[in-house]
Symmetry: D2
Subunit: 294 residues, 4 copies
Amino acid sequence: MDVGFIGLGAMGRGMAANLLKAGHTVRVWNRSRGAVDVLAKEGAVPAASSRDAFRGDAVISMLADDAAVRAVILDERLIDGAPAGLVHVNMATVSVALARELAALHQAHGVAYVAAPVFGRPDVAAMGKLQIVAAGDPAAIERVQPLFDAMGQATWRIGDEPHRANVTKLAGNFMIVSAIEAMAEAAAMAKGHGIAEGDLLGVLTNAVFTVPVYKNYGAIIAEQRYDPPGFKLTLGLKDVRLALAAAEMAGAPMPFASVLRDNLLDAVAHGDAERDWAALARVAQRRAGRDGPA
Amino acid sequence: MDVGFIGLGAMGRGMAANLLKAGHTVRVWNRSRGAVDVLAKEGAVPAASSRDAFRGDAVISMLADDAAVRAVILDERLIDGAPAGLVHVNMATVSVALARELAALHQAHGVAYVAAPVFGRPDVAAMGKLQIVAAGDPAAIERVQPLFDAMGQATWRIGDEPHRANVTKLAGNFMIVSAIEAMAEAAAMAKGHGIAEGDLLGVLTNAVFTVPVYKNYGAIIAEQRYDPPGFKLTLGLKDVRLALAAAEMAGAPMPFASVLRDNLLDAVAHGDAERDWAALARVAQRRAGRDGPA
Amino acid sequence: MDVGFIGLGAMGRGMAANLLKAGHTVRVWNRSRGAVDVLAKEGAVPAASSRDAFRGDAVISMLADDAAVRAVILDERLIDGAPAGLVHVNMATVSVALARELAALHQAHGVAYVAAPVFGRPDVAAMGKLQIVAAGDPAAIERVQPLFDAMGQATWRIGDEPHRANVTKLAGNFMIVSAIEAMAEAAAMAKGHGIAEGDLLGVLTNAVFTVPVYKNYGAIIAEQRYDPPGFKLTLGLKDVRLALAAAEMAGAPMPFASVLRDNLLDAVAHGDAERDWAALARVAQRRAGRDGPA
Amino acid sequence: MDVGFIGLGAMGRGMAANLLKAGHTVRVWNRSRGAVDVLAKEGAVPAASSRDAFRGDAVISMLADDAAVRAVILDERLIDGAPAGLVHVNMATVSVALARELAALHQAHGVAYVAAPVFGRPDVAAMGKLQIVAAGDPAAIERVQPLFDAMGQATWRIGDEPHRANVTKLAGNFMIVSAIEAMAEAAAMAKGHGIAEGDLLGVLTNAVFTVPVYKNYGAIIAEQRYDPPGFKLTLGLKDVRLALAAAEMAGAPMPFASVLRDNLLDAVAHGDAERDWAALARVAQRRAGRDGPA
């Protein structure tokens, strides 16, 4: 397929590389040039402009946040001028409000739109093993399924309205960071009874929580290995904020999310903004009077 | 081995039955007589008294809570009169304070004491597939390991001081109910955006949280199947209370546990005391203005 | 003095009327015409446009929220064209972010700017008994002090940077709604022990909390008199949101504010959006299983 | 009147002294002898035993906590042997569970029982200006009213069942510490915007919260004057715990109380156990990354 790819950050570059490996033609664009050059060496075609990427059979965008989507796609009015037959696949984690706005805008301009945020860190993206959650017109999803197959391990369809995929992604990230916080609090409690984090979480992630998300973050907490981050704490704070905003739209209190927001702010205030979001464990230990090394 | 077994509730009867199947002699005692008769038909020896059960190679106690342990074991001064060589294996979920008190008491009377609380519901106990967390004198654990092998799928040793196993059990239950609450809040938020609980949790427990604890409770929430309970909400409230008490001993704030306590009280106040603790999902939906069927 | 007045809502009309009573010339402007006509009968001069109001010795703006300030003042570029010598007094409750933006903008255009949000409900505004919190250039405040004297019982100066007054206002509203929530939770607890809200709060607001803010809201809770609202719950939710945003800028967790946000959402989800924010007491009673009349 | 007085702590000694000043005969008893000697110099009669104090027209007990009441009154079976006509006035802050137990016990033995906890710190007790909340048989209260008049500024009757006074006291202390926490969070937020605690709380306690409880604690926070404590943080934690227990009996969630419990534990973990409970302000500042002097 002839595919545009906009946004070559830590996630995007691995995803685009896997599209190339699968034999697709990929026109890549990025706000800074470095990542474009790297992918060009792997066979990608540098796009002349973001608009030049926004054409072909499909265009995938993987931008950092709402602001980036607004700057690169909306402000540039890329949707207005999209060619007939193009499917825009937005794989970024964006707010539910923007997700709804984008869906309406594509519909107004007759452009097929699929929201397909992913679960998986950059190393998983590089391996083409992402979990993809897709929502949108089934026919459009069908057309881009080969692209998903190249980038992901599985695609989970969650309905016709694109924002449903974004809600699911935010719900999932909220559940992940809730799991981290639960381990953090449990470890702080156990530590006060003389049990090391690694002993406690080693048992519990082998006896009950036998799943990578717990094992990986449990190991990070046990080894206090917050640098370099797999997922930056400030990005986690952003996603918790988006979950709270989505909950407010839905009229739903989310007391766990409120606790998470407060604790992530505490972490930022103590210098952990750029560390892995599992540094929530440092907050729990600090509040119990046990300050770890900075 | 010659084993006493005290406490034949939903968990204990399955555990004792598996000891019988493995060929052990089991003298059983229970406060009410019915369960004793049932197990006698499977080959157990009815004990004449709790003291008659508290002898042999080992005695296993599986009582409901701190109060039951006090009434059956401490008030009857069973430890004082225990015969030489007996290993007392306490597999119940008790407070850390009582765990420490029991350890000191056994030591004072020269009785070997192992704390070995379990993960798994009654059906898992009946299958002999429990996850057993054991702490105590390694030699004593070694002696009762054949019993653990008959009742459990795996035994996780967490050190020499018995209370460490109880801390680990409370930490684990806290993590389980935190997982339930996270699903409950995520589902309430998603529902407000038109996504059914089953759709949301179906995707997330297949894409990310691929582990029975999430899959089982996710299904219960999706199907609103809170009766009969797998684990009664009031028992869950008791365990959260024990976790909070253990945290207070440790000087550790546990804001998630505080939220859980409040939400479980809300559930009790709305008639869900005897339902499965996954009825936390009803609290989250109700607070968002969506009252489910009672 | 020659004063423009922009924003004749429930608060603004009383404030403008008191300026008239004190003998000032008041050119009034409002987005909807009705309030202008009412004040014209009391001697106000209808302004031809918002720009026509934004001149003279001073202009007071009392708009509903950030969006209204943006629409009426920023989008219309009123600051750019302000005449020399004008003091703009913004008495609305706005976000700290907008407060800082407004201060920078006025400075850039050489227009004197005073932030002066107020404490007091519409009836207090009508009596000219508001508590005014003012921040800005002391000379500018000095010039408009006669206006404050006409509208308020006291003026509290809190420094030279205008946003300081807005921070103080948000902090004060947060403290007020925290007082309401504390009464709500105390009353829900006491009710379960057979004590009526009125009995409990009657004693406590006479013995300890002998101050109007507690007495008034205590009486509202005791009498379940949430209609008509003195201060609408959705406005309270907006202010809690602004406090949380200000706290996030400051890197400060505010767990009470997080609880308030969740509980106010719960209230909105149960139909109390347009009631007095003391309807938080209905949330506390409902969560305890005691549903009051809708 | 002929009055026994049991418990001469910081509060009790001032209260007993005021009874003496009012001309009553006061037989005093205390677990440690020092306070007895001091009061003897002011005219009190040292009681030979706690039982010797538990007679006459009335006996007032002002013991530290539930455990002290159990040890001094219940374990000694003082109620069983109380002479006819005695009114026992329990002015201590005890749990609602113990309050109910005591009421039942007195009734069973035909001893008049009044619960009369107080608001006011030791200096207020010494001045005879306490706020007394009384519940019990109206005739019994009537008989001891002269004693209340000697110790307090006002007596607030809250019904016939003694536990009602204890519920009211716990509700009041919860509202006080909620006020402290609200100021603490507001101050931490404002500090991040450059506003000193004293400036913020100075304005707000003069403009809105014009009542001693806010002014006093606001000043303590502004001046960071946590030593010596007016009310020790660990006592505050105990009272929050009692409020949570009372709420649990009542089936009422109290999310503010949950936050307070967590934050008070945080304070204890950071060395503030013996400081004034307004040291909650240190928790709020620390969580925002601003560590004050220890």
